[in-house]
Amino acid sequence: MTSDIRHKKMLTIDAKNVDFYYSEFHALKNINIEVEKNKVVALIGPSGCGKSTFLRLLNRMNDLIDGTRMTGSVLIEGKDIYAPNIHVDELRKEVGMVFQKPNPFPKSIFENVAYGLRVNGIKDKTFIEERVIESIKSAALWNEVKDKLNKSAFALSGGQQQRLCIARALAISPKVLLMDEPASALDPISTSKIEELIYELKKDYTIMIVTHNMQQASRVSDKTAYFYLGEMIEYDDTIKIFTNPTELSTQNYITGRFG
């Protein structure tokens, strides 16, 4: 019955009763969140509220930190990503990630985007080339780099590097794209390009973005989750959150009265 309902709503992310601990520190408390396919969800809240921790749970980045513990379940397209038979490498093909600071590899623009395909054992040159071009186009970077694909990625501006990192994440055709403050290190024009890109990308991907910039959350997302002290205080349509939130605490945070 439950799976029927899930199927109807096309849930891409379904986290249930998630608790997370850094040793003794209880970082996430009973988080429940459902994300439909092709939606953008923004996670907002003051520093240390748990939003990045939650984001990193979705591709098991927290596995790398000693002394952490999680209870509850996280399903991506119906699959429990913490089940024993799940390989983290396989999971990360489904769930791509873009970080706060652009982190291109010390390789050419082309090779940066081809990297994920090559490490996954793909050797077909034509396929790689097509996929690289397609990904760079999807990341709205093509016109700026099409004549210098063999140049070093470091020659690009910060905003271009970030879009290159997005192209790199897209190349392996993930279902979910996680973004941890993807524009916080960028100037306003580059930020605006990333925001427009997110709006375009949601046609093909489901996106979760952590941002400290509330206006950015309001501009790019369909749904917004407000986190505070490890709890998810409110999760609703972005329009609702930014015009008439249910919780006073959410209102105080988004209006800048607190946080």
């Binding site: 605006s192 925001e195 427009e196 709006y199 206006q215 309001s218 501009r219 972005t238 329009i239 930014f242 015009t243």
Partner: protein, 221 residues
């Protein structure tokens, strides 16, 4: 096209659609009065709810754009102007509805053709329709010049209204049995005069949006 531009484009289209509806409401209400066409008056009455629905939709779109996109400069002026144009258009449609209702609820009212000519009721109806269309032209084409005639036309409408009072008073003295009909007529003339004022308010908002000029309460020739 940027996301915000798409939202603004869609808001603009809703305003244009509402505007066209309001123009036809005013034109039909005027025509209903001039030709004693009760069916047409009924049509105006039935379409009033449609205007109200547009008003609510546009208000909500403006609220969402401000809350979600934080418009600045011309985008901000556009949204602020649309909020005010929206309520002015809704008031105009209310007056058109009021005029139509007068002739639905008072089926025995007959207006003397000569009195209509003398009070210039027909000219007044024509004038406010022109003003509404000029406003829409200016808004659609983003040319404030197209709206500049509205201010002087509003004076002409005011003039007709002032003169009508004297003409109707004289008529009542000569035809006391028609006093009730005349009160209905003067009520409609007052409504048309208010429509002219709202057109003028709209023109001010168009200048604010396009040229960033505040004409409100400014003395005019």
């Amino acid at each position: 096209m940027r996301h915000l531009e798409q939202e603004i484009q869609s808001l603009r289209q809703d305003v244009i659609d509402m505007w066209k509806l309001v123009i036809s409401q005013v034109a039909n209400a005027g025509e209903a009065v001039l030709s004693f066409d009760k069916e047409l008056a009924q049509k105006v009455s039935m379409r009033e709810k449609k205007v109200d629905a547009y008003e609510l939709k546009i208000d909500s779109e403006c609220e969402n754009i401000i809350a979600l996109h934080q418009p600045v400069a011309i985008d901000l002026r556009f949204v602020l102007a649309v909020l005010k144009i929206n309520s002015n258009l809704e008031r105009i449609a209310d007056f058109a509805y009021g005029i139509a209702r007068t002739f639905i609820t008072n089926p025995s009212v007959i207006l003397d053709a000569e009195l209509i000519t003398d009070t210039k009721l027909n000219v007044m109806i024509q004038q406010v329709n022109t003003m509404l269309s000029q406003g829409l032209d200016a808004f659609e084409n983003e040319k404030s010049d197209f709206a500049s005639a509205i201010f002087s036309e509003d004076y002409q409408v005011d003039e007709i209204n002032i003169n009508a009072a004297r003409i109707i008073a004289d008529y009542i003295q000569k035809n006391p049995d028609r006093a009730y009909d005349c009160l209905q007529l003067i009520a409609s003339i007052r409504k048309l005069e208010r429509i002219g004022d709202h057109c003028s308010n709209i023109a001010e908002e168009i200048f604010f949006y396009i040229d960033a000029k505040v004409l409100k309460h400014a003395p005019r020739k």
